[in-house]
Amino acid sequence: MTSSTANDTSRATQIYRIFIKATPQAIWDAITKPEWTQRWGYGLRDEYDLRPGGKYRGYANEGMIAMGMSGVIVDGEVLEADPPHKLVVTWRMAVDPSMASEGFTRLTYEIVEGRDGVSRLSVIHDVTDRPGHGAMIAGDQQGPGAGGGWTWILSDLKTVLESGTAMSR
């Protein structure tokens, strides 16, 4: 895919899907429990109040605090929680003023049990009219230290659930 180097980050919805050898419950826990969320991806300490209208907050981890970031990195609200199969939240990069001013995106996790202990996780992220968020989750800002958006995050989640240790740690 070398013929185009820039994608259209105003795309309304982006979808990322991965197969993980883990139960839906294990995947659900890895996404929603703070002791798990700090072990993969950007390692935020995520706190969910898992009922419609409940708060969602992603707090800075120790490494971020050491770099001078603190408090709420990501914020949002739970729209739907059907453990361990479906979680819908609003989601916003609160720590960056220009991103925060774009407003909330809508993020859906769907977990489906498959055969042989393999489950399918789909991430449907609606970033309509949120170009900053769209570029970030697509990994367009990938570079030293910037991470690689959902593809990298989900690859890391698969690694931590299947091997016990994330690539990022």
Binding site: N7, R11, S122, T151, L154
Partner: protein, 106 residues
């Protein structure tokens, strides 16, 4: 066939790579939209999309009466993490940076 095998097989065909390029440029397209961009019958495009879907490179969702096709880049990332990251990331990224610089200045 393993999941990796299906990804490599799907990527081995130039028409399928063009379809992925089209979805990369703009995501969430219908069959009719995709069909208008390649010189191929509707049936041919459907067959290629099915191979891409089986490989997990395309994910479809219904929106009303329409079936929309989305690019899923995760399988390519997994191959990257498994086969490239492990051994040669630094060298490969130096080369891709060089290629980009040369092409941009050309």
């Amino acid at each position: 066939m393993t999941r990796d095998d299906r990804v490599f097989k799907a990527l081995a065909d130039p028409t399928r790579r063009v379809l992925l390029d089209r979805l990369f440029t703009r995501d969430g397209r219908t069959l009719t939209e995709l069909e208008s961009e390649v010189k191929m019958t509707r049936f041919g495009v459907m067959k290629h999309l099915r191979v891409l879907e089986d490989a997990g490179l395309v994910v479809t969702r219904r929106a009303g009466r329409e079936k929309l096709h989305f690019l899923n880049t995760v399988p390519i990332r997994l191959i990257h993490d498994r086969w490239i990251d492990k051994f040669t990331e630094r060298r490969v990224s130096a080369l891709t940076d060089l290629k980009r610089q040369l092409e941009d200045s050309a």
